[in-house]
């Protein structure tokens, strides 16, 4: 195409200025493809994290009575007992499952190694709620709880820290001086969002009854649990489910069910909903699209300038028979060539960068930008709009050149 060839001549004629203009286009489209692709994977990373922690997981724990609630002078730490949890489990209708967990940081010793880890007392109901797969051996069973057995299941990293690549099952370790037998090792969970306490990979699980007996809560309630776990049923909304459990629990503790300081609630799905992912993606898209649009100003200026300098040429073309439409088309093609050159180069660079990112082994918590078809479509769309505007305005101006002026221009 003659006009395409003209566009390349034009770029050569403008030297540094065309380099800068093209750079703007490259940067603009590259940032759209890269940032929008990144935003998409951001969502995926968060999603994956929540999937691991359990998207339909919720927790309730006891706090102290809030200031607007009576008796607010009673500032003691409220306690939820294992019996309370069992009673709630019987009464609750909306939650799919209700379980208890208790936790404590304790020194763990195996051979010459010793460090502190989070030790959780668990029961089979709670484990079903968490649904963490076991890599080796077994998990805590009802018999372990019933008989208060000194058995432990290790999180992936804990086993790694203690025994490296060697099998963990069958070994003995000491927790706060007491002997435990390792009966299982959990799968690696990796990054979790909405986690409570330590990541599961860094936890040690023992039967909840063994936990109560070994480290009873001082005071009137030795069997106090740290958290009440529940799993949403498919049909019930998180708010209704939590409200029901909160009401049942409040009744047993003698507090107001509306007191969110007395009974502290947390749910994965609500936390997920609170992360402004849509807004984040929107901001990324907006930023990158704006960059691309601004690069269009460079193109517009270049084209306006070339139209100004080529008035004689335009007038001559019109005089020898070009229709104004021919002139418009010519300048649109010239602009489109320039925009396509910079834009497609930008898209190519962004894709190369994304592939390079994918090749590097990054921690899974860092979102790796994805090759996103919508992002490429967005880049192409904005590019076309930029081309149409940055080319259209100069093209219309060119079409208005008076062909009679060719008879009067000198030189």
């Amino acid at each position: 195409m003659d006009s395409a060839r003209q566009a390349l001549r034009l770029l050569r004629a403008y030297g540094l200025r065309s380099v800068l203009t093209l750079f703007g286009l490259v940067w603009g489209t590259a940032s759209v493809v890269f940032l929008v692709g990144w935003g998409e994977s951001l969502e995926e990373v968060v999603d994956r994290g929540f999937e691991k922690a359990g998207r339909d997981l919720g927790q309730l724990s006891a706090g102290t009575i809030g200031e607007e609630f009576t008796p607010s002078t009673d500032r003691r730490q409220l306690l939820i007992s294992w019996q309370d949890v069992a009673a709630i489990r019987r009464q609750a209708r909306l939650a799919r499952a209700v379980g208890a967990e208790t936790r404590r940081y304790l020194p763990v010793t195996a051979g010459s190694l010793s460090f502190h880890r989070e030790v959780r007392g668990v029961e089979p109901e709670g484990l079903r709620i968490r649904a963490i797969p076991v890599a080796q051996g077994r998990t805590i069973r009802p018999g372990d709880v019933g008989e208060r057995r000194p058995v432990a299941v290790l999180g992936f990293e804990v086993a790694e820290d203690l025994y490296g690549a060697r099998p963990a099952v069958g070994r003995r370790l000491r927790i706060d001086g007491r002997f435990f037998e390792v009966v299982g090792r959990l799968e690696r969970m990796g990054a979790q969002f909405g986690q409570d306490g330590e990541p599961i990979d860094d936890q040690i699980w023992i039967p909840i009854t063994t936990h109560f007996a070994s480290w009873p809560t001082p005071g009137t309630e030795p069997n106090a649990v740290s958290t009440v776990l529940y799993r949403l049923s498919r049909s019930s909304a998180v708010d209704a489910t939590e409200d029901e459990l909160r009401r049942l629990l409040a009744e047993r503790l003698g507090v107001d069910p509306k007191d969110e300081e007395a009974i502290v609630g947390w749910s994965a799905s609500r936390t997920l909903a609170q992360i402004p992912l849509g807004e984040l993606r929107g901001i990324l898209a907006l930023l990158s699209v704006t960059t691309l649009a601004i690069s269009g100003i460079g193109v517009l200026n270049l084209m306006l300038d070339t139209v100004r300098q080529r008035r004689r040429e335009i007038g001559l073309r019109l005089a020898v028979g070009a229709r104004p439409l021919d002139v418009v088309v010519q300048f649109l093609i010239e602009t489109a060539t320039i925009v396509a050159l910079g834009g497609l180069l930008g898209i190519a660079i962004a894709l190369a960068l994304i592939l390079a990112f994918a090749a590097v082994d990054l921690p899974e918590i860092i979102p790796v930008p994805r090759v996103s078809v919508p992002a490429i479509a967005l880049a192409l769309g904005v590019m076309s709009a930029v081309g149409l505007i940055a080319g259209g305005i100069p093209a219309l101006r060119a079409a208005r050149v008076d062909p009679a002026s060719t008879l009067r221009s000198d030189g």
Binding site: A319, G321, A322, R323, P324, D326, P403, A404, T406, G411
Partner: protein, 239 residues
């Protein structure tokens, strides 16, 4: 005017006026011009600077509309035609030669000559466009007629003034126009190279071409079969 005469006329101006209006001035450049150009005419338009010669040529070339009066092209009034229709007539029927050559500096001689053909809509190709090959052949043929076939690939900057103006003449005749309009074609040339261009015009005239040449050059006046003298926007003499 007789019917036979009108049918024979390529261009016909009747009571044409032209005003140039700017925010500061209103120039009355043509004040009632009657002029008929028939097939085969070789006409020179002469007159002092500012008398309205170029303005007259603009109107004859359908580059700019008359403010009043009638302009007919091959018997049909042009006042109702839109820019596209006017562009079509220019691309098919009119060839222009300008004082300043007006070649595109980045295009070779043959590409410059091709330019009017690019915009023609009566060729055999899609949308009535001429094929690239057809355009090239015709452009080379036109260059041959002005004796510059061997310079086809040269850029304007690589040619002398006389050669450049001959390329411009080739461009004017490449579309086989009904009339060639030239404004001061020898104005930028010395007498020897000017002579080259003028003998080209003679040859075109002999082959039956129709030429209108605006000029200060007495030699053109001498060669043209008919000379029109313009003064202050009116035709003073036509013989």
């Amino acid at each position: 005017m007789g019917v036979g005469e009108a049918a024979n006329a390529i261009l016909d101006l009747e009571g044409v006026h032209k005003h140039y209006q700017t925010d500061r001035v209103d120039v009355h450049a043509l004040r009632g011009v009657d002029l008929r150009i028939a097939t085969g005419d070789y006409l020179s338009i002469m007159g002092p600077s500012g008398s309205g010669k170029t303005t007259m040529l603009e109107i004859l070339g359908l580059l700019s509309p008359a403010s009043a009066g009638t302009v007919r092209f091959q018997g049909r009034p042009t006042s109702g035609l839109d820019v596209t229709a006017l562009a079509h007539i220019r691309s098919q029927e009119i060839g222009f030669v300008f004082q300043a050559f007006n070649l595109l500096p980045r295009l070779s001689a043959v590409e410059n000559v091709e330019l009017p053909l690019v915009y023609q809509r009566s060729g055999g190709g899609p949308g009535g466009r001429r094929s690239r090959r057809d355009r090239k052949e015709r452009a080379i043929e036109a260059l041959r007629r002005v004796g510059l076939e061997s310079r086809a690939g040269h850029l304007p900057g690589e040619m002398s003034g006389g050669e450049r103006q001959r390329v411009a003449v080739a461009r004017a005749l490449v579309n086989d126009p009904a009339v060639i309009l030239a404004d001061e074609p020898t104005g930028n040339l010395d007498s020897k190279t000017g002579e080259e261009v003028l003998s080209l015009f003679d040859a075109l005239h002999e082959q039956g071409g129709t030429l209108v040449v605006v000029t200060h050059d007495e030699r053109v006046g001498a060669r043209a079969a008919r000379t029109v003298s313009v003064r202050d926007g009116v035709i003073e003499r036509d013989d």
